[in-house]
Structure formats: structure tokens, C-alpha cells
Subunit: 231 residues, 2 copies
DNA sequence: CAGTCGCAAATTTGATCATATTCTAGGGTC
DNA sequence: GACCCTAGAATATGATCAAATTTGCGACTG
């Protein structure tokens, strides 16, 4: 297991070659996560093969994987769409994220290295810039990467995968919400969170994570809840 | 666009024939869940194609799906195994199941119909019989089906999928633990849970779910934790 | 006479298989 | 002990089959 003193590399064409289905998965995942594919929109295999210029098998595997993660929904007879969130779904996600985010935030704080904090600070600065220039796409991306970095720091693979799975579920709707509300009144409790992390206060970090999550999810709930549906 | 009011089904010959990859998935999932495939054991595609007498593509899709759910582990270089739980993994699962099981148990209690309670009572009786006759395989199966039925009653698809995903992670190890400890001193708090459900006491049901889960997971932790490792 | 409903053909899409290619691993040789 | 060679397994492609949705045509009804 540890005998990687020297690895024989005959050809240095590229020592790290991710498989095709992995690349397709990542690309499709990002397109779902950042709202390039809208909720309710059907996802077809043959459409993806032409769109991503890939073979059929890797596309199938990527779709199957995303269905298992909840990012796509298998509509009974062979039809696959990006799921639409109901009010009940949102309540479930909020409940789950309350526990997940607070624990992951606390664990990340306890394990944070200076390099971790520097990364988070950099991501948060990029996020602020995206907000100030009204770049929705960049905002969504940096916001996700900020939180994903925290999950990575927490060193809890199972909890992290659960949290990332939830992101895949509400990501598309988040795009819809932000597209409707604009980027002006986006809550940014990341400053509090970063301060708590720098101070090593795990409890305060957990509270900040929870509050940040709650504010975001309440906005989603407000827009998607059928109180005043127009179309 | 929205004219899908009723769906005309001409023939009910097979009502709904599940695709092959779905069948393979279910079969492989059960084999993992009930410990027919031990943790650490490699899972090969070609081995599955012969073992389950299926094509290569459906097997690939089923494996990919189970990897996404955490039931299988992709070992970097094309190797797939049933994952071994570490002590940290177990701690994460316990934390997640504490709030998942209690909430699902409470929701199930609030929504329980007489038919639901009859099903649970029947499953619990079958479970008792399996214990008394020392049938490990049947115990694992009925225990899972008992809890899965509760998840179904809770009417919370996202939380339920998270809970089922955790079952896939500790299922194989549960088999190992029970195989080593026997079925004598298995905790059975299902009676308390059923009583609380019949009384409509959601809070008591939540506590019972949590306690039942904790006792089971502590046994897993006790056996798998490397305090006194023999082999 | 026009509009609508229903049946059926056609197209689109998903599922499966056989096969070629590539990469990893293990054993043999220098 | 290190390097190469072979074998086996996984990855990826394209073709083919089956199913479902859509659409177009015709008949019936108001």
C-alpha cells in the first residue's frame, strides 16, 4: 500500500487520465448544480451525447449516478428530468441541513489549517466580487465551492457526501430563485463564519453555518412556495 | 404541454416490466445489504455478469449506482470493493442516524394508518421468530424491512433516501457483527416503538427509534473498533 | 361544415449486446 | 532487484431492438 517509492512511468503522455464517464459526470453535475439545466427540463441520453460530444455508455453511467444522488429524477417510464422541489422537499432539506451544516462547520473549525482559512478567505472575496458585479453564475459557483471546501476540511466523508447530495437537489432551484430576486439582497454570513473559524470557536461556526443555510433556504422556500404563483 | 391528465394503458400483460439494470441493481443491493458479499470483498463486472447471468451494460449501471449511494467503493484504479467501515465512519453514521431516525419515526407515527401498524406488527413478529430460531439471514432482512416500512410511512422521500443510503453503508458490517455475536443478545426496542406508534406519541416513537438505532450501532462499533482486534 | 376525438404509423429515445481498445497487475527473465 | 511481456479485466463505441410519445389522417358529432 505504501510502497510508492518510485513508480515506473514508461510514457509521460499524462500520468493522470480521468475516465470519460467521470468527466461527463463532472460536467453534467456542474450544469445541474449551477442551473444551466432548469428544473423540470428533460434530460435525454442522445441529447447529451451530441451536446457533450461523448459516447453513449459514459453518458448513461453519469446519468445513472446523478439519479442515485438525487440530482436527476427518473420519471417512471424512462424519462429523466431535473426535479422540481415541492414545499415538503424544501422542509426536508432544511431539516437535514440544520444537522449536517452545523456539524460539518464545527468539525471544519476544529481541523482548520492556515492554508484552509486562506482558501476560504479567497473564495469569499471572489464571491463578494461576483455579487458586486451582479454575476449570478460566478456567485453560485463560488458559493458552492466555499461550502464544499468546508465539507472537505471537516474530514467526514459520509456526512460530506450527504451534504453535497443535498446541494445537488436544491442547486437548480437556487438558480431560479437568484435569477428572480437578483444578487442584491443575498445574505452573506460568511464573514461571521470566517471570524468564528479563525477564533477556533466551533460552536459559533456551527451557528453561523446554520444561519447562512437557513437564510438561503428560506429565500428558496419563499419563491418556490405556491403562495402567489403566476404561471 | 400539460395534457397528461390520464394515461391510457392498453395492455396489462406485465403491468410494468422493470428494466434489466433495475433488476440487477435490486439483486446486487440486497446481496450487499444482507451481507452475502462481505466487506473488503472485490466486486468485478465480469464476475457479476456470470454470477447473475446478465449482460455487461446493466451490471455496469447497477455498480455505478451503488457506488454513488456509498454501497460500493471505487478504489481509484478500476477496482470496486464493498467498503470497510472505520471507527470514524461509524461515528458519522451514528450522528446522522440520530436525527434521521428520530424525525422519520415521529413523522411515521403522525401518519400511521391501521394498515401500516398491522404491517409493522407482522414484520416484528416475523423478526422475533427469526431471532428465536437463530436465522441470521431472516433477521437481517426483516429488521431492514421493518425500518424501511417506517421510512415509507414517514412520507419524506429525501430523508428516507438518506436513511436508506446509510443502511447500505453499515449493512455489510452489521452482518459481520451479528455473525460474530449471534442473535441472542440482539436488542429489540421495536415493542416500545410500536406501543408509542399505536398511542400516537410521536415524541416517544422518536426516542424509541433513536435508542434502537444506538444499541445496534454501538454493537457494530464494539466489534469493528480496533480495541481488541484478534485477526 | 367545422371541430374534435381516436386510432395508427412514424419518429424519437432508451435498453441491450457484441466487440475493439486501453490500462493495470503479475510473473518471468536478464 | 528491476524491467518487460503477457494476460485479464475495465472502458468505450456503435449497432440493433424495443417501447413510448407524438403526429397525422380519417371519421364522427354538434
Amino acid at each position: 500500500m505504501d510502497g510508492n517509492a518510485q513508480k515506473v512511468i514508461g510514457k509521460e503522455t499524462g500520468s493522470a487520465r480521468p475516465p470519460a464517464h467521470e468527466l461527463i459526470y463532472r460536467k453534467l453535475r456542474e450544469q445541474i448544480l449551477f442551473g444551466e439545466i432548469a428544473p423540470g427540463q428533460p434530460v435525454t441520453i442522445q441529447g447529451l451525447t451530441e451536446r457533450l460530444e461523448a459516447g453513449m455508455t459514459p453518458v448513461r453511467e453519469a446519468i445513472r449516478r446523478l439519479i442515485a444522488e438525487g440530482a436527476l429524477d427518473f420519471q417512471g417510464n424512462r424519462r429523466v428530468i431535473v426535479p422540481l422541489l415541492t414545499a415538503e422537499n424544501i422542509a426536508e432539506i432544511i431539516y437535514a441541513r440544520q444537522w449536517l451544516e452545523s456539524d460539518l462547520g464545527a468539525r471544519a473549525t476544529q481541523r482548520a489549517t492556515p492554508a484552509d482559512l486562506a482558501d476560504l478567505t479567497r473564495l469569499d472575496a471572489a464571491l463578494d466580487q461576483a455579487i458586486s458585479r451582479g454575476d449570478l453564475q460566478a456567485y453560485l459557483e463560488y458559493n458552492y465551492r466555499f461550502h464544499a471546501r468546508i465539507y472537505q476540511m471537516a474530514d467526514a466523508p459520509i456526512l460530506a457526501s450527504m451534504a453535497e447530495g443535498l446541494w445537488l437537489r436544491f442547486g437548480p432551484s437556487l438558480r431560479v430563485v437568484c435569477g428572480r430576486l437578483g444578487t442584491q439582497n443575498l445574505p452573506d454570513l460568511h464573514k461571521d463564519l470566517l471570524a468564528a473559524m479563525r477564533a477556533g470557536d466551533a460552536e459559533a461556526a456551527a451557528r453561523a453555518c446554520q444561519q447562512d443555510m437557513l437564510q438561503g433556504m428560506e429565500q428558496v422556500r419563499g419563491v418556490l412556495t405556491p403562495n402567489a404563483v403566476s404561471d
